[in-house]
């Protein structure tokens, strides 16, 4: 590494670390709650967040959804201590299940967030992904920067793009440079394995530059592998920190921060790239929401296949009115955008008029 670069990176790292430490100043007011059962109010908080998609009026639904996402980020960073990101939530769930019958309160503590999310998904559909998830929200907000470009690429069937190639190379350089710096300044452990997910994210980006149109759906199966790797690691008691984990632990965690930055940068290039290809929790939610009470339904008699829904969907879960429930985040953008009002939320518990 060039000598002139080192002080710049050191200064940058110090600023990040200071900012990370300052989060805890805000957090101190809540530290009395930590370790007490009051923390279980997070179940209530998450439950309320989940009910909001049902309650909000359709007129300003997307604005309210973004507000809900911002609120979700705050709730997860300052209240939900047991989450620790997408990997940590699976690990803590495993630990909580192990405590059942031995320390039931501890079991409740660790199972509270994953059980709430899964039950919520069984009832309301995958609203957690579209309305609450902080990682998803970060990607969505990042993706808005190049929203028009993404829509153009989608309309053209994701052809090869020099701009995308340039962005990917730039992201890869950021990753390699940061890794170069970290490799000489700190010791890495198994828990830092989230950098491997970042590496795979960059490799995926390189593939998607040429093959997004044809391989997009097939590559999504990687989520299953990602899920089973994390479950196996949880069973083997291996702690792997996930992207955005540093936000929960409130300390400067370089590997987790790097993984988060990579997710955000990659989402500039391919919308919701983490949710599409690697998020293990997204896969679990899709399974839980398979027979959910609330789901989206298209009235094909009304649908004129105009393709507006295709354009607004951030995860390509809809094509000409045909919804893929396994990929849908239930953000309801398609419902709001459909000029024919052909897409609607179907509620199995609601009596049909």
């Amino acid at each position: 590494m060039p000598e002139w670069l080192k002080p710049i990176l050191e200064s940058l790292e110090n600023h990040i670390e200071t900012a990370s430490a300052n989060i805890k100043l805000l957090d101190q007011a809540l530290s009395g709650m930590e370790g007490s059962y009051v923390e279980l109010l997070t179940i209530l908080a998450l439950g309320l967040l989940a009910v909001i998609p049902v309650l909000v009026p359709s007129r300003r639904r997307q604005a309210l959804r973004h507000l809900n996402q911002i609120f979700g980020i705050a709730i997860f960073i300052f209240v939900v201590y047991t989450c620790l990101g997408v990997f940590g939530m699976i690990r803590n769930f495993h630990r909580g299940l192990n405590e059942i019958g031995r320390e039931n309160i501890v079991a409740l503590y660790y199972c509270s967030v994953p059980v709430t999310v899964l039950v919520m998904s069984m009832i309301f559909g995958p609203t957690f992904c579209g309305w609450i998830c902080p990682t998803g929200a970060l990607q969505e907000f990042a993706g808005m920067i190049f929203g028009r470009w993404h829509r153009c690429r989608k309309a053209e069937g994701y052809p090869f793009s020099w701009k995308m190639l340039a962005m990917t190379i730039l992201i890869a350089l950021v990753f390699l440079g940061w890794m170069g710096y970290l490799s000489v300044t700190r010791v890495f452990f198994i828990e830092d394995a989230s950098i491997y997910w970042s590496e795979v994210l960059i490799l995926l980006l390189l593939l998607l530059v040429w093959k997004m149109g044809t391989w997009d759906k097939r590559l999504r199966k990687l989520r299953v592998l990602s899920f089973f790797i994390i479950v196996a690691a949880a069973i083997a008691s291996l702690r792997i920190t996930s992207p955005v984990h540093f936000g929960f632990s409130k300390v400067y965690d370089p590997a987790s921060l790097l993984a988060t930055v990579m997710v955000v940068l990659a989402a500039l290039t391919v919308p919701h790239i983490w949710c599409r290809y690697l998020c293990p929790w997204r896969e679990a939610i899709a399974w839980a929401a398979k027979h959910s009470v609330r789901s989206l339904k298209t009235d094909h008699e009304k649908c004129n296949q105009c393709g507006v829904c295709d354009m607004v969907c951030g995860v390509d879960a809809i094509q000409k009115g045909v919804i893929d429930p396994h990929e849908c985040h239930m953000c309801l953008k398609c419902v709001d955008a459909c000029p024919q009002k052909a897409i609607a939320v179907k509620d199995k518990w609601k009596a049909e008029s």
Partner: protein
């Protein structure tokens, strides 16, 4: 014959204390918290080698739970012996030179705090507390129990009882105790400071000094009198003049936040300073005589444990770990940060300061499952040891010592002794052969790992995935 034996024992224990000082009188070995002793090993003594002692082999209770307490070390009959308790409810005496357990004593509760070792006559006695509400005294050589003193009476409604590590001074054992009784009628919640006679265990006095948890007491002689310091969990630090006669409050200092560790005091100088960290992450330095605050500094997150005061090249420094993954070194005089070292996890343990062939080193354990040994001058890494996966992931914070390391300095090597969450007590030589020395320090390991992952993904995972999957059903329908 029995009377003669009893007389012999009484005479033996009634002899004046050897050298006047206990070999390990307090929580971390001394009021400065250095947690290290020196051993002039005889020429015939075998070298101390790596040893992983598993105290749960003849398990009796709570299988697989970790060692939380910090050890105490003493030289008994010219051989180093470590005393450590665990969740198996036993105090173990481990002979490091022979790698054998000399003896163990069973209590009726987990041993969560460090023992202390003092003299009665010419004999070394180990004093320790257990969660069974009792203090024990055993002969350090044989394990023979001398006395047991129950500090809190049993009750059906007794909720929890916590006894600290003892502090020994001039034949008196000082210990703190917190107990609460959940019966509405009693509604008792008390933290006592208790003074016991070291020889018999009889109680000199006790005083309720808080209604919450109390830290382990520590103290030193200032102006010819013992100054005893105890911090209450709620942040109230109190200083006393203490003796077997009674207790006199000198001053108190209210920290702004909860306190999880015990205070430490400089051993040198006429104006000794006292250091204590808080849950807010603030380390304060006080005048140990008057309680006046000298300076305060912030760490990035909670200070989980007791600090350690060390003197390097004539300059006194405070070493303290924090929940922000860092070990800090502050100058004791004015609080200026000398260095800090970032680890891979929260630094939950109290540091230990020692020398290796004249080089000042500091050891501290981190929640990244590693024990770090750093150069105390600049914080550079000397060695890293893998001390096993934690039994639990992200255990709750604070509370106790969490297996802090202690050091045994010798002429040609230094060994670290650490009770770990993995349920083992490790003896790790710094220069000698050691299998747990971390191999993950090289930057090349990281790059090789990234290369292997890229190859694995591109050559195996991706082809298998593409060959085994077809376009999704929904896409086919759409087409």
């Amino acid at each position: 014959m029995r009377a003669l034996l009893a007389l012999c024992l009484i005479v033996a224990y009634a002899l004046p204390a050897r050298g006047g000082e206990s070999p390990w009188p307090a929580l971390r070995g001394s009021c400065a918290g250095e947690a290290a002793i020196t051993w002039q090993a005889p020429a015939t003594a075998p070298a101390i080698r790596e040893w992983h002692f598993k105290p749960l082999s003849d398990r009796r209770f709570q299988v697989g739970l970790p060692v939380w307490a910090s050890p105490a070390v003493a030289i008994i009959d010219d051989r180093p012996v470590v005393y450590i308790g665990g969740y198996d409810q036993k105090l173990h005496a481990l002979d490091l030179s022979q790698k054998t357990r000399l003896w163990f004593q069973i209590t009726n509760g987990p041993i969560l705090e460090a023992p202390a070792i003092g003299y009665l006559g010419n004999r070394e006695i180990v004093f320790y507390s257990s969660a069974d509400r009792s203090v024990y005294a055993c002969d350090a050589r044989t394990g023979r129990k001398l006395w047991t003193r129950e500090l809190v009476a049993p009750s059906n409604t007794l909720g929890f009882c916590w006894l600290s590590a003892p502090f020994l001074h001039e034949g008196v054992l000082y210990i703190t105790c917190f107990a609460y009784d959940r019966a509405l009628a009693r509604n008792a919640q008390s933290g006592w400071l208790v003074a016991l006679e070291m020889r018999t265990g009889s109680e000199h006095w006790r005083r309720e000094i808080s209604q919450g948890f109390l830290s382990s007491p520590t103290g030193r002689i200032i102006a010819g009198r013992l100054h005893l310091y105890v911090a209450a969990r709620k942040g109230l630090l109190q200083a006393f003049h203490a003796s077997s006669e009674g207790l006199e409050t000198l001053w108190s200092f209210q920290m702004a936040h909860e306190v999880l560790g015990s205070p430490v005091i400089e051993t040198d100088g006429e104006q000794p300073r006292l250091f204590l960290g808080s849950k807010f992450g603030r380390l304060v330095a006080l005048d140990a005589k008057t309680g006046e605050m000298l300076w305060k500094r912030m760490a990035g997150n909670w200070i989980d444990n007791t600090a350690c005061v060390a003197t390097v090249e004539g300059e006194s420094m405070v070493l303290v770990g924090s929940h922000d993954y860092n070990l800090y070194a502050f100058r004791a005089h004015d609080g200026e940060m000398l260095w800090r070292k970032r680890f891979g996890g929260e630094v939950y343990s109290a540091p230990s300061f020692f020398y290796l062939k004249g080089e000042p080193l500091v050891a501290a354990a981190s929640l990244d499952d590693h024990l770090y040994v750093l150069n105390a001058r600049d914080g550079s890494v000397h060695s890293i040891f893998f001390t096993g996966q934690a039994v639990w992931d992200k255990v709750s914070k604070g509370e106790t010592l969490w297996g802090s390391p202690v050091a045994l300095e010798m002429e040609d090597d230094t060994v670290i002794i650490q009770g770990s969450y993995s349920g083992l007590v490790y003896t790790l030589p710094l220069l000698g052969e050691c299998s747990l020395r971390s191999k993950m320090q090289a930057a090349s390991t990281l790059w090789i790992g990234l290369g292997v992952m890229a190859a694995l993904f591109l050559l195996i995972i991706l082809p298998v995935l593409l060959l085994s999957t077809r376009p999704h059903k929904a896409s086919r329908q759409a087409e």
